[in-house]
């Protein structure tokens, strides 16, 4: 029907003087945008299929291509944007829920960008990381409120299980299935090389990757895909996924089309069947049930592995975190509303949950008010984009951060946000062998190592500037932050003063 016609969002601009009709673009585009017309000896485009992933642009040997947003527009209307109008046409046609991928792109405040970092002048020397050690290593896990001594008076040094990380960053959960085997290999190898951890997500752990177990966090989600004794034993820590920032309150759905071969085997479900994670864990309808799962997992692994409970940042996050801290969890991971996803209903992704900065600050405050901050470590994610965001997160009170979108970008993701199509031209969010092999793990793993190494340098520089030579002394050190352009309430929740104060 004519009503359903939507003008393509992007236009493929091809410079005919530069194009040599080598057909690289055609071969590279899984969306089949490009096509060669032998009669005219010309490349043509069907821009209606273009997702703006830049694969063709990046590989065009003569730089003949660029993708631009179309200037075709609906009549200007501040209330009814072109996006909203288009979505109504789509839903009127299909009767379906709108789907999106990656994090919430809406224009809500990004508090990281409204926080500024301190530096030493005169009264306190800054520390030069080229000349003095700056320590970014830390441990995640329960701390103590008392000490014990043996009969000779020596300190008893046994502790609850701890995760040692060389810098306060970990790769956040992305399941095998939502991303490719090669992407997982990159993450696992980089985590091992960097002395940090990556997270299996809810799709189980491919048997090839058991050897990276010392740097792996294995996830137990509501679908329990791929969960068995060896899997729990394989990881260094176990994460119970209660929620995800991109889609708080709902479950997950990996279509049967992606449940092929090793993915089906790893998830322990038949090939071609949809992998549906229920919205809640059906054995957890309240906090006391969570406690039982935490201790079941601890019992299963001999109390040798810390248990992480991951929740989405929702309105009552501080009280929820307080409950989790009293339920035996060693670490709480909080995922903000800008966290990424392979697929989520658009309305949920863009309208449910709260910013991680506010959630983190209020959880850290609440746990301190209750005197239980020592009982858990806090990991903040969704979305942490740079070393500066990390420094701000630690200063607000996080022990470490989770990152996922940034490492995917390092692997080639161009944030076209169409992962749910399964046709990722960069070999990340796809299971098509031809596409997966485009991501070379040898190169990908190095790029992840490079990214985090660069961040570590930057974190060290910022810490040194503040005269802080250990990440522990930055944790919760909110005097090192000032707000700009924030109102009184925002400053109060973040626990920071305004710039100039």
């Amino acid at each position: 029907m004519p009503i359903d016609f939507l003008y393509p969002k992007f236009e493929v601009v091809r410079n005919p003087q530069r194009c040599i009709a080598c057909r690289v673009c055609e071969r590279q585009c899984a969306n089949e945008v490009h096509r060669f017309d032998p009669a005219l000896n010309l490349m043509e485009s069907d821009e209606s299929k273009c997702v703006d992933c830049h694969r063709c642009v990046s590989l065009c040997p003569t730089r003949a291509l660029k993708i631009v947003e179309t200037d075709h527009a609906f009549r200007k209307n501040a209330n009814w944007s072109g996006e909203i109008i288009s979505e109504i046409y789509l839903q009127a046609k299909s009767g379906g829920v709108l789907l999106s991928s990656m994090g919430n792109p809406a224009g809500h405040p990004i508090y990281w960008d409204k926080l500024l970092i301190n530096a030493s002048q005169v009264t306190n020397p800054s520390i030069d990381p080229l000349r003095e050690p700056i320590e970014t290593k830390t441990f995640l896990g329960k701390k103590t409120h008392d000490i014990k001594r043996d009969k000779n008076g020596h300190l008893v040094t046994e502790t609850s299980p701890q995760l040692e990380i060389s810098m306060p960053v970990m790769f956040s959960a992305m399941s095998y299935g939502s991303i490719s085997y090669n992407a997982h290999e990159c993450l696992a190898r980089a985590a091992a090389e960097l002395g940090i951890y990556y997270n299996t997500g809810e799709g189980g752990l491919h048997e090839d990757f058991y050897r990276y177990g010392a740097h792996t966090i294995v996830q137990v989600a509501s679908g329990r895909f791929g969960v068995h004794k060896d899997y729990l034993e394989a990881g260094a820590a176990i994460e119970i996924k209660m929620g995800q920032g991109a889609k708080p309150g709902i479950g997950g759905h990996l279509p049967g089309g992606k449940i092929v071969g090793d993915i089906a085997k790893t998830r322990m479900i038949p090939e071609g069947s949809d992998a549906i994670s229920p919205a809640p864990h059906h054995d957890i309808y309240s906090i006391e049930d969570l406690r039982q799962l935490v201790y079941s997992l601890k019992e299963a692994t001999g109390y040798r592995k810390p248990v992480i409970v991951k929740i989405a940042a929702v309105h009552n996050v501080a009280a929820i975190a307080s409950g989790i801290a009293r339920s035996g969890a060693d670490i709480i991971a909080i995922d903000g509303f800008r966290g990424g996803t392979g697929a989520a209903p658009t309305r949920i992704r863009d309208h449910v949950g709260i910013p991680i900065e506010l959630a983190l600050a209020s959880v850290d405050d609440r746990l301190r008010e209750e005197g239980i901050r020592q009982d858990v470590s806090l990991v903040a994610g969704g979305s942490v984009r740079s070393s500066a965001d990390i420094v701000k997160a630690i200063a607000l009170g996080a022990d470490a951060v989770y990152v996922a979108t940034a490492p995917l970008l390092a692997l080639g993701c161009h944030l076209c946000a169409t992962c749910f199509t399964g046709k990722c031209n960069w070999g990340i969010a796809t299971q098509e062998p031809e596409l997966v092999k485009r991501l070379n793990p040898e190169i990908g793993f190095l790029r992840l190592v490079n990214l985090l190494t660069a961040w570590k340098h930057e974190i060290s520089e910022m810490m040194g500037g503040m005269g802080i030579n250990s990440i522990e002394a930055l944790k919760g050190n909110r005097l090192m932050l000032r707000g700009v352009g924030l109102n009184e309430k925002e400053l109060q929740i973040l626990g920071v003063r305004h710039a100039g104060e």
Binding site: L155, E472, A473, N477
Partner: protein, 366 residues
């Protein structure tokens, strides 16, 4: 301008300490002379002294030194103290009016024992009971500030140069077995008497030179355990950290120094297995009490003295010995001013705690 306590004020400083290992008592005049040599390191906005063993006649009573802004504050505070303690003696602390020291508050001293019934009701030991009462006065009685609360020891401080403060309080008239002192160089000028150093809690006193960069991480941690930071100074938070680690947790001073000036991970890695485990344990379990940024501190307690520098040694501090005495100061000249023939001069390394005990003293809380 906001008064100290509502804002954080960085300060540079001079510090000094003298201790008799035999526990012999000597006049506070020596520490005054030592401090006077470092006049240039202060700017007249705060000076103070702590003396140990100065009240042998009341050695089992808590000696409370209190600043009052006005009579009403004194009446309110005394009413409160009366309800919690048996006050065995009270008096104004004798001072000598001098031109260099002006605007002094009312300065009173009380020797007290916790009321046995109150103490029993509280289910606390007498130290914790007294600590809580001191916090109560300082946080809720407007215009009253307890600045010294240990047994057989006392803090004397004021806005002024240290040598003038010594004359004001006539420090030379007191005899103690250990003295520490402080001259202040704050970068802002609220000039409040309570903000001068030493800072003390029960018998622990801290004099400090530096500006710690970990301040808010430390403060937000220690406030979880009932320590309300009212002054927002480094010295206050360092004192509470040491009280928490030593008196409450039960670490000795060496272990506490391994927490607050923890060795670098690379240093810990070079130790033998047992020491590695011990240092890793302390550093990890009390991670939020690591203090970074420059500091040199002298920590006085009944039984001894600890000297400690930050782990990079970003503030000067030297020590020396002569016969029974051990001397500490920000500058060697300040030691030589008292003992020209000082021996074994030594500048301890960053993070290296030096603990000197008087005869029979112990470096941990009983």
């Amino acid at each position: 301008m906001e008064r100290e306590g509502s804002i954080r004020i960085p300060a540079g400083c001079a510090i000094a300490g003298i201790i008799s290992r035999e526990g012999k008592r000597f006049s506070g005049d020596a520490i005054r002379r030592s401090m006077s040599m470092m006049h240039e390191r202060s700017n007249g906005l705060g000076g103070g002294f702590a003396g140990y063993g100065i009240y042998p006649e009341y050695k089992d009573a808590y000696a409370l030194h209190v600043f009052y802004d006005n009579i009403e504050a004194r009446e309110a505070c005394e009413k409160y103290l009366d309800s919690r303690f048996d006050i065995v003696n009270l008096s104004k602390i004798p001072v000598k009016k001098i031109r260099a020291i002006t605007g002094e508050p009312l300065i009173w001293r009380y020797f007290v024992h916790p009321l046995p019934t109150r103490l029993a009701d509280s289910q606390l030991d007498e130290n914790e009971f007294t600590r809580r009462c001191v916090f109560r006065v300082n946080t809720s009685i407007e215009g009253a500030y307890v600045f010294s609360s240990g047994k057989n020891m006392g803090v004397f401080k004021a806005v002024g140069y240290p040598e003038d403060v010594a004359e004001f309080y006539q420090i030379g008239d007191y005899e103690g077995c250990c003295w520490t002192a402080h001259g202040r160089y704050p970068t802002n000028t609220p000039g409040w008497w309570g903000g001068a150093h030493p800072f003390s809690l029960l018998d622990m006193t801290v004099v400090h030179n530096g500006e710690i960069s970990s301040y808010d991480a430390n403060r937000r941690f220690i406030e979880m355990y009932g320590y309300t930071c009212t002054l927002k100074t480094d010295t206050e938070v360092i004192t509470y950290i040491l009280d928490y680690l030593v008196r409450k947790i039960g670490l000795d001073f060496t272990e506490a120094s391994n927490v607050i000036a923890a060795p670098f991970w690379s240093t810990i890695a070079s130790k033998d297995e047992r020491e590695k485990q011990r240092l890793t344990y302390l550093r990890n379990m009390f991670a939020s009490l690591l203090i970074t940024g420059p500091f040199s501190i002298l920590v006085g307690f009944n039984g001894g003295l600890m000297m400690l520098n930050d782990r990079l040694k970003l503030r000067s501090m030297v020590m020396g010995e002569k016969d029974d005495f051990v001397y500490f100061a920000s500058e060697e000249a300040a030691i030589r001013a008292v003992e020209p023939a000082v021996e074994n001069l030594y500048a301890p390394r960053g993070g290296e705690a030096v603990i000197v005990l008087t005869k029979g003293g112990a470096s941990h809380a009983d």
